[in-house]
């Protein structure tokens, strides 16, 4: 392979030369490990974000002032400060508040993206609930449903259709945002790529493969979101 292109300069030297590609592919396991960590953080983070977002979304759509004010504050704080600071706060503050408690960086990543995207998802859920006519809730309540029961059986199933496309887009952002744990040595795909590239200087090929990894995770979801969007528009 190398002999074949031996007289083409940019394939032999420079940031994208063949020897660099070979070195990266010999260590592809490092990237693969990182990919698994990213998948783990993303899936558990998404589960947390969905749970938080649903609870907060239902709270912010309620007619009681206290839960509404609480969720407003939560959403405004998390949407208007960088995720990186929140992760750093968790990283530094949790061991101080609970001395002796060992928190793996992965757990900080899960908590960080979960709480951050929980705020965004709660706004999506609230918009979904509010898009269902007020009469639906009144009808359900008049039929003897409790507020929670009406939400569970009447409002949320209908809101799901409206909520699903923006929710999928949130999942895409969440996957991309798991990369911030690279900055606190989280062992994810971004970190694995960056530390490998930094050791030998093979930045070009490594970053292309890292980018490919994120793209393969995100692109199918992005396509799925668009399909859903088109379907709801037709219906």
């Amino acid at each position: 392979m190398s002999e074949l292109f031996s007289n083409i300069a940019f394939l032999q030297q420079g940031p994208f030369s063949i020897p660099r590609w070979e070195a990266v592919f010999q260590n592809i396991d490092t990237l693969w490990q990182g990919m698994l960590v990213t998948l783990l953080v993303a899936s558990l983070g998404l589960a947390l974000a969905l749970a938080l977002g649903t609870v907060l979304g239902v709270m912010s759509a309620s007619h009681w002032r206290v839960p509404r004010a609480f969720t407003r504050g939560y959403v405004e704080f998390f949407q208007n400060t960088p995720l990186l600071i929140q992760v750093f706060m968790l990283y530094n503050a949790l061991p101080i508040l609970y001395p002796g408690l060992f928190i793996p960086v992965i757990a900080i990543g899960i908590l960080g993206v979960g709480m951050y995207h929980g705020a965004y998802i709660s706004e999506v859920v609230r918009a979904g609930i509010q898009s269902i006519g007020r009469g639906q809730l009144e009808a359900a309540l008049s039929q003897g449903f409790t507020y929670v029961g009406a939400m569970r059986y009447i409002i949320i199933p209908q809101a799901m259709r409206i909520v699903l496309p923006p929710l999928t887009n949130q999942a895409v952002s969440l996957i991309k945002n798991t990369s911030v744990i690279a900055i606190i040595a989280g062992g994810d795909l971004m970190y694995a790529g960056d530390s490998f590239a930094g050791r030998f200087g093979h930045y070009g090929p490594t970053y292309i493969l890292v980018g490919l990894g994120y793209f393969l995770l995100c692109f199918p979801l992005a396509i799925f979101a668009r399909r859903l969007e088109e379907r709801t528009r037709v219906a």
């Binding site: 949407q79 400060t81 706060m89 990369s179 690279a182 971004m190 992005a222």
Partner: protein, 228 residues
């Protein structure tokens, strides 16, 4: 009095270095964000227009750009600008953010143009308006109204994501904070530093969010809702 003097948080907060450091960081954060927004607006408009034309090769390039970039982490784009393109830290952050934000703004612009029904176009052209005239007087006014709020709220994302620049040691607010945290290493000091930084980001971004929300409300009065 002794208790107050011995309090490490108060000691830190009465040190001018603390404020000078954060102020310098804030200026660089705002500079990175401002340049990124201006560049992305220019570049994003071009990409968005390319896609809107629907011409074979031109729109395909735009679609490929948008689809690839939107599915990559901003941090990766910033690191690539720094290590592969070899830019200085502040410029790498600016260009990395621009590459990403342009794709988002391109979609906003296309979405705004598409929100004007084709009937409006046909009506304008049939009344003898040229392409540019129909664009200028018929299509753009309602389309721009639709574009402004999402573009303004994208400012918030850019300011927040500029904190990723700490990964390449650009001296913006977040990185300045971590440097201070090395000097003031006591737990309560570290927490105070991050709280202060959060507050600074919050004040800026919350103000922008409020402006965006107000624009959305004000601009839609008596305008928008065409074709509904």
């Amino acid at each position: 009095m002794d208790v107050v003097a011995a309090n490490p948080v108060i000691e830190m907060l009465s040190d001018p270095v603390f404020y000078i450091g954060l102020w310098g960081g804030l200026l660089l954060t705002l500079q990175i964000a401002a340049f990124s927004i201006v560049f992305s607006f220019g570049f994003g408009t071009i990409i968005g227009a390319m896609r809107y034309t629907g011409l074979p090769v031109i729109s395909h390039i735009a679609v490929a750009y948008i689809e690839v970039v939107r599915n990559l982490p901003t941090l990766l784009l910033i690191l690539t600008s720094y290590f592969v393109l070899g830019l200085s830290a502040a410029w790498a952050a600016t260009i990395g953010l621009t590459i990403y934000t342009s794709a988002i703004i391109a979609e906003v612009i296309r979405g705004g143009l598409n929100s004007v029904p084709t009937g409006q176009w046909e009506a304008a052209r049939s009344q003898g308006f040229s392409f540019l005239q129909s664009m200028r007087y018929i299509v753009l006014p309602p389309a721009v109204v639709k574009m402004i709020p999402p573009i303004v709220s994208q400012f918030v994302t850019v300011i927040k994501d500029s904190s990723f620049a700490m990964a390449i040691a650009a001296y913006e607010l977040m990185y300045k904070g971590t440097i201070l945290a090395a000097k003031y290493w006591r737990p309560e000091q570290i927490i105070t530093i991050y709280l202060v930084i959060s507050l600074i980001y919050f004040v800026i971004n919350f103000t922008i969010s409020m402006v965006s929300r107000r624009l959305q409300r004000n601009l839609s009065i008596g305008r928008g809702s065409i074709g509904d």
